[in-house]
């Protein structure tokens, strides 16, 4: 087993365990913290794939900014440190169904990996491939060039999405006093 494989298995264990923690902890703050661990382990995955820029962004934006926001909201909504989710599950039978379907899905995916699911063509490196570009201009530059040239249109569409999100926040959180209408 090479060092890379070892790193993969350790990271995979941490990622899966922390992802389970997010949904299994009854205390919302613990869930948040294990989500941070999960996002950090994903960043390390990116790093092990030599996607340095994506790994950095993952840490800065997700593990940093977004999670801070999450924690703020959780602690603000539950000021009395009572962040436990209480009450019993009304749909217990779903656990059985979920477990059965999850086993099927996991089995299928393991089969996929065992069969060497990725066709060789998909990984082929030509003169215009991402790998060639990365060696030519560097990781961050290749990412930026692709984002602002070839993928500029989806990038612009995302800005429309952000406009909608801002308007949604305004619409749904605004409360009218009685006489504001006219």
């Amino acid at each position: 087993m090479t060092a890379q494989q070892l790193a993969f298995f350790v990271l995979a264990f941490v990622a899966v365990a922390s992802a389970l923690g997010v949904i299994l902890f009854r205390n919302a703050v613990y869930s948040m913290l294990s989500l941070i661990v999960n996002l950090l382990s994903l960043a390390l995955f990116f790093l092990s794939l030599q996607a340095i820029f994506v790994a950095t962004i993952q840490v800065l934006i997700y593990a940093g900014a977004v999670m801070v926001l999450f924690l703020f909201v959780v602690t603000m909504l539950a000021p009395e440190a009572d962040t436990n989710v209480s009450g019993s599950d009304r749909l217990r039978w779903q656990w059985v169904a979920t477990a059965g379907l999850a086993v099927i899905l996991a089995g299928g995916l393991i089969l996929a990996v065992a069969n060497g699911a990725v066709a060789q063509d998909a990984k082929a490196a030509g003169p215009n491939s991402l790998a060639a570009q990365v060696t030519k201009v560097g990781n961050v530059q290749a990412f930026g060039l692709a984002l602002f040239h070839g993928f500029s249109f989806p990038f612009e569409v995302t800005s429309v999405l952000l406009v909608i999100a801002v308007m949604g926040a305004v619409v749904l959180s605004r409360r009218f006093s009685g006489r504001e209408r006219e």
Binding site: L109, H149, F151, L161, I164, R175
Partner: protein, 547 residues
Amino acid sequence: MILASSVFDFTPTAQDWLRILPELIVLGAALLVLLADLAIPAKGRGWLALVGLLGVVAAAVVTAGMWISGDGLTAFNGMIASDKAALFADLVILFAAALGLLFSPGYVERQGIRQHGEYYTLLLLAALGMMLMASAASLLIVFAGLEVLSLALYILSAFIVARPRSQEAGMKYFILSSFASAFLLYGMALTYGATGATALTAIHDFVARHAAPTGDFRPLLLAGLGLMAVGFCFKVSAVPFQAWTPDVYVGAPTSITAFMSVGTKVAAFVALARVFMVALGPVAAAWSPVLWAVAVLTMIGGNLYAVTQRDVKRMLAYSSVANAGYMLVAVVTGTQQALAALLIYLAAYATMNLGAFGVVLALERSDGLGTVLEDFNGLARRRRGLAAVLAVCLLALAGIPPTVGFAGKFAVFYAAIAGGRLELAIIGVLTSVLGMFYYLRVIWAMYFVEPQPARPAPAFVVAPAAPPASASAAASSSTGGVAVAEPRIATTVRADPAAVSVAETPHVVYPGTWLALALALIATIALGILPGALVDLATQAAQSLLR
């Protein structure tokens, strides 16, 4: 991973922008409405709908021009298509948006929605997202367009702040639909991993070269297909992913329900056709059994659910589920003829469904009630015009000639038989017969049942105390061109049976609503009597997509 040579140095040209001109006009109109909202005084907010409507009409004119003289190529490095299938879908979506805008001013006023500017802007942006999704030539744009339209619709569903059902609709739609979006995105990621491409043409080339000849579908590709199918089936509200549909359609403002029931279907089905029928057509053997099962379940389930409904709005929601089943028949068949039939059915569904929801909208009271089957008893005597429109639209939904609904059903089932899917056509015809029961039941109620004089208040009434008549009169007189003179009936506490008067409200139907209903009615009948033009357009569109 091979990327197109221009990924790292692509620069958009004027040609690229011209090919997305309809989308740009809709975006411009949306932003203009948002700005005009600040300038226009509160009284004249009904004019915002007109601004949006002008944008939509302009976009439709440009789309028609592109149909005649456009080059039909993709724009922005193969991200978005301007082929005739995209233009056809754009036209249907713009038709739905125009009718949605026409329905809105009177309804919005009656429901006490205050944020008019945001309402119309979001409606236009939802239309933009639908157009993007229907024109997508890359998985990225399929997802981005889907998110634009979904996010706008989540907000619009929850727009009636004072009505808990509307809030509930927005929340349910948001959570369930985000979950489905995650499935779709995961499926796209796995498909990308299996084929090394997000552009639909590149995916098509890859599966045609590798998977199709050998019949060796990589498990990774299969998993991707499965997850994408889940996402799409949720968005088109196919059984067993339909649970959100009735609650959202009933809770959302009816003008939005009318618009989204049509627009989302068009966008999602054209995108589904692009991804499954075209790009993944060579591996149809991998996905068609799954969609076959979903189509059968949807046709049977949607119609069975609809039969049991007492609320006409809810019945129409389940009817939209059932219609998704007929459309899936066309997708499963997978031939060029079937694609044309799918487009015909989408256009037909747009006209008749908008008309039906429009009448429900005109009858709905300010407390959101008044759409139960009993409310339609004897409607033909009280509201001759509305009853006639609803009758024609329901006959069309039932698939009775000479309406456009018959043309759509005929096209789909004929294509299914021609494409060797006889069993789906048989199930489709049988379930359509079942469907006639609940459509004709409403017509029966309107024309042949005496209205009950004073229906007792339904037990689930949670109507907030309606504003006193004077306030509402002041409100309606101050709305300028918006002619809403609805004497609101104070639905007071249930303990006092004498005060409970939930008789029908003789509110005036806003002229824009009449115009929209007339448009839907004319389209439903004219395209039904002379379906040749529609068939011709749809065939051209199908040829541009699937050769």
